[in-house]
Structure formats: structure tokens, C-alpha cells
Symmetry: C2
Subunit: 338 residues, 2 copies
């Protein structure tokens, strides 16, 4: 199968909204008056972002999901995307499910594939996504104000827990592994929540590198600090369980430390972390309904810089959680170093 047949068979589809799709030197997008174009790009590399034997359908889903998550964090409505793909070889039995996973999610968000590039090389997937947002209404990282509440959508840490099991660092019962692995391999971009938060949230980011790291971006760009209640955060791990359920590998304290590590610094969650004034709590609840995902209030923005962790009694909890950095060594997981 040649390069052009590959594109024709798996990726070329009629466009509904774009002025011109796959097949020319450029794609063409119409610009709507009063709107801004939101743009984000993410690259997924085998061995870094996914296992070599990952199901191609879920990989196609995830490659687009992580990009849609960036649009969600800005409150932008998805429009279109480009796909650049380096493949070791052009195999139909891989390309067919990959393109289906990709395009199923694209269709669910009415987001069109408008162009791309294919080349031979170590497996690498680079998607650039385009969305639109009314001028001046995008959710930015820089808008958090002292006194604002801090929220996060959905659950956190499950992807990281699954990763630890898949790397052989811990064992999980089959049902727990399946549930957490699903969260890792097929994350749900919170697009509807992002749209609903447009006039409500003061700042937002998506949680890709870990909650504390991504909240840290908001703090830095808003020149504020924050206090996060770890006793609330702890329960964001959907897989939170009795230590006995995780095959008795941990005592209560070890398991709680691992759960907290997963939630605060696991990453690969693709939930939204956002801030909103205390006066907007009802609007946040309404946005959560509209976005069809629960949101949890887990802290507040402070004028004093720095990120403070506290327990249910307000006592300080040591912050031993580094967020993910592609060029730094990762800390070992609490309770998993053996």
C-alpha cells in the first residue's frame, strides 16, 4: 500500500464545514466573524505515551482526545484537526482500527480531519486541533484571583494507577485494572464542561502532567498561590479501595500514600482543573450538569505565592509530588519502590 492509497483508504473523508479538506497543499478553514481560532498540538510517541502493543482503536481515540482536552481547557468548540503520522510500515490491520478510533471520537465532537502528512519512521502521532471561541472569552491560565475556589472535574489518578500495574510495580484485581486501564487508554475530553465554564471560570487548564503541576501553571501565570485539601483530593481516585481489595500489597498508610500520589501527580487524566469566584458556586454546579461530569471543590486561591497542601484539619501536608517532565527523571512512586 502506497502513501496516497493509505490516505485515500483510511483518512480522506468529505468535509462538512471546512472550505477545503484533505488532498491539496493546504486545507482551508472559513473564519467566523467575532470568533478567535484556538490551536493546540500534541505529539504521542511509542514507548513514551503508549505501549507498543496498545490497541490501535484506543490509540486513535487517545491521540485526538488529548488534543480536544486542550480545546476544552480554553472553552473552545472543536472544528477540525490535522494528523501527521510516522509509521514503521503501512499495515491495514493497524490503520483500519486506528483510523476508526480517531474518527469515531472526531465524529462525536463534529471535528473534521482536514489534512495531514504520512511518512515512514518510528511510530509517532502528531495532531494539531482547531477550535473556535468568541473573541475575548477563552478560558486562560492567567485569570485566577485570590479567594477563588479551585475545582477539578471527574476523577484523577486512575491512569497512573493502571500504568503502575502495567509496568509490574503493583498488581490490581482484574476489574480494577480494566476500569483504570480504560481511563488511561480512552480518556474523555471535557469539551462540554469547558464550553459551559466560559463565562463562569476565572482560569482553567487540563490535567495532563498531574494535578499539582497543571494547577501550578495556573498559579504561576496568575501570580497567585493556593491551598489544596488532600483529604478531599484523595477521594478523586475513582479506583479508591480498601487496601484489602488491592491484594493486601499495602497497609492502610501505604495505600493512602499511593492513592494521593496518583491523584496529585499521576497525570494523563485529561480532566479540567479550574478556578471560579466563590459567588459562582451555583453556576459551577450548573456547568457540571451541562458537562455531564461531577466537579469537586478541593481548595482555594491565595494571594501568597506557593502551593500548600493541608489535611482535613487544615494542618500542613508535605508536598513530595513532582509533576511529569519529559526531560527530567521521574520520582519513584511512594510505596512502589520495591
Amino acid at each position: 500500500m502506497g502513501e496516497f492509497e493509505l490516505i485515500e483508504r483510511f483518512f480522506k473523508r468529505p468535509v462538512r464545514h471546512a472550505a477545503l479538506g484533505v488532498g491539496d497543499d493546504c486545507a482551508l478553514l472559513n473564519s467566523a466573524p467575532g470568533m478567535q481560532m484556538a490551536v493546540s498540538t500534541d505529539m504521542l510517541v511509542q514507548g513514551r505515551h503508549f505501549f507498543p502493543d496498545v490497541d490501535p482503536y484506543t490509540l486513535g481515540h487517545k491521540a485526538l482526545a488529548v488534543n480536544l482536552s486542550d480545546l476544552a481547557a480554553c472553552g473552545a468548540r472543536p472544528l477540525a484537526f490535522t494528523l501527521a503520522l510516522a509509521l514503521p510500515e503501512a499495515r491495514s490491520d493497524w490503520l483500519e482500527p486506528f483510523s476508526r478510533g480517531l474518527l469515531d471520537l472526531a465524529d462525536a465532537h463534529d471535528c473534521e480531519l482536514i489534512g495531514g502528512d504520512t511518512t515512514q519512521g518510528p511510530l509517532n502521532i502528531c495532531i494539531t486541533v482547531f477550535g473556535e471561541v468568541p473573541a475575548g472569552q477563552a478560558l486562560l491560565r492567567s485569570g485566577a484571583q485570590p479567594g477563588d475556589d479551585i475545582y477539578v472535574s471527574g476523577s484523577l489518578g486512575d491512569a497512573y494507577l493502571a500504568l503502575q500495574a502495567m509496568l509490574g510495580h503493583i498488581t490490581l484485581p482484574p476489574t480494577l485494572l480494566a476500569a483504570t486501564r480504560q481511563r488511561m487508554e480512552q480518556p474523555t475530553p471535557r469539551v462540554a464542561l469547558g464550553l459551559a465554564l466560559r463565562a463562569v471560570a476565572s482560569a482553567a487548564a487540563d490535567v495532563s502532567d498531574g494535578l499539582l503541576g497543571d494547577l501550578g501553571h495556573i498559579l504561576k501565570q496568575s501570580s497567585v498561590g493556593a491551598t489544596v485539601d488532600t483529604s478531599v483530593a484523595m477521594h478523586l481516585l475513582a479506583a479508591y479501595a480498601d487496601p484489602a481489595d488491592v491484594n493486601g500489597q499495602f497497609d492502610q498508610e501505604q495505600w493512602m500514600a499511593l492513592a494521593l500520589r496518583c491523584v496529585l501527580a499521576g497525570g494523563d487524566d485529561y480532566e479540567l482543573v479550574f478556578t471560579a469566584p466563590v459567588s459562582r458556586r451555583k453556576d459551577v454546579a450548573a456547568a457540571a450538569l451541562q458537562g455531564d461530569v461531577p466537579v469537586t471543590r478541593l481548595g482555594r486561591i491565595d494571594a501568597a505565592p506557593g502551593l500548600r497542601l493541608v489535611n482535613a484539619d487544615g494542618a500542613a501536608v508535605e508536598n513530595r509530588f513532582a509533576s511529569f517532565d519529559h526531560f527530567a527523571e521521574r520520582e519513584t512512586v511512594a510505596g512502589c519502590s520495591a
Copy 2:
């Protein structure tokens, strides 16, 4: 050096036109009334598109140049680009010249870096570029009409000739190697020519996979055929020389066959191939002046499908030239199989 320091040091710069640049979940581009956004993406892979020891400055230049060339082919004015970069390691002595080569060319075209992604992995550079064009005025591949002239800008085949020398298939004298290698490593995107051709050309494409292949895209999408004069095309090789100048490796016939192979199917040229009505020859000449690059008329569009090669007498020349396909085996180079 961590991921965020890397971005901060080498790639984060204030934006002049975009509403928001590097540093948030998305970048934001303002949309101008009456304009369409032209989008293209290209991925460059080590060992496939460049040698492992390539000068990082020229690699930065080329990574953006091949994308700007797609905008040029559509007659779009460059606005902005995103950069996704997989790197084996974060080394300043590589990143500094790479970013300089990239941003020097970006500045020359007033094209802003607005966002991106960096990750650890086998070296891979994926750029997505954005340009604007008045709605309905983009140059497409689909507009060629029977009777139209066929033109190409600049010179063709030099990059491929350099590649053959660098692969050790032929030897070139040092000055010829330097000149052709410069064309391979630092191609000049024909942005000004593309803009000048907007109201003149009937169809256009950039020459990345080889003249005949890229002209073939125009023919297919315009549902027409073409006749190309190989005696004219031959002289598009800027490095065209007496066989004696290429160290006596070839007799006259072998050298001419190699030169023609380079010109017609070499690829990696980033010139424009375009068509225009015979009545617009003066306008094409004016566009070439405006674009500061010579253009050569080398054939005509036919109503009958198919691509015919002829010599100066109009006699048929066999077409033995395949264009580049990333998932097909490449033909061996005429005269170079030893």
C-alpha cells in the same frame, strides 16, 4: 534542562499578531473578516528526511521551509506555526542552533511560533503552519484547464543530486556539492511568488515529491492531462554541467539521463509547479519578478488524460520516473545503480 525550561529558553517569544502565544493550553489567532485560514502540516523524521549529522541550524530552517512552501502553493500569507518536537535528549548545543534556524526563517516571513509540544523520543519534527488568503482566492490543484501553460519556479533536481553524492552513489566536485547541498538543506519557500500568482495561476502545487508526481496531483484533481518538454526541463537542474565536470563518471548520455531523473522525479525541491492560461503570460512574468525567482514554461495542459513527455522535436520520451512515495520502494537512479 527540563521540558519547561527548554521551551522558555529556546522557543517562547512574545507574539506580535496572535491574540495568545506559547504558554497556555491553546494559542489564539484572531480571524480577519473575509479571509480563510490555510493550514498545512509536515513531519520530518531523522534518517528519512535528513541525515543524523545534519547541521541543526539548517534543519530548523528546513522544517519550517517545507511548511511555508505549502502555504506558497496556495497563495496564502504566512501568519503563525506550531512546533511539536520529539528529542532523544535536551541538549543546548543542538537546540540553540535549531531554534535559531527555525526562528530566523520565521522572522523573515513574519510568521510567529504560537505553540507546541516537546517530548522525549526518536528525533521527529512536526510543524503545522497557518496562513491567510482572501476567501475564494486560494490557489488549488484542481483549477488547470486544457490549453493552459505549465510552469515551474527556480531550479529542480539539485537536492536529489546532492543526496546521491551524500549517499556515495556518485561523486561531485566540492563546489558543485556545496551548491546542491545548500539547495537540499536550506530550500527557499516561494511565498512571494505564491502571493503574486493568486489572481494569475489556474492551479498550483509545491514540488516536494518530484515534478512529475506533483504535477500529476494537479492533473488528477483537474481531470486533465499534460505534455512536458524534457529538453526544457533538463535545464532546470542548476547544477547542470558538462559530464567532464562531474569527474568523468558518466558519458554524455548517462549524465543527461541522471540530470533528467533529478529534475523530473528528484523531489525535495520546494519550488512551485503551476498552470496559467496562455493569455496570462505577461502576468506570469510579472509575478516571477515580484517573487524574485525565474519561472520556466515547460509544457501545456491537455484535455486528454495522462502525462506525456516529449523531446525538443515533439517526439515521445519514455516516462521511467516514479515520484517519491514513503511506503513504496524507490527506483534506483539511472546511471547510479553501481
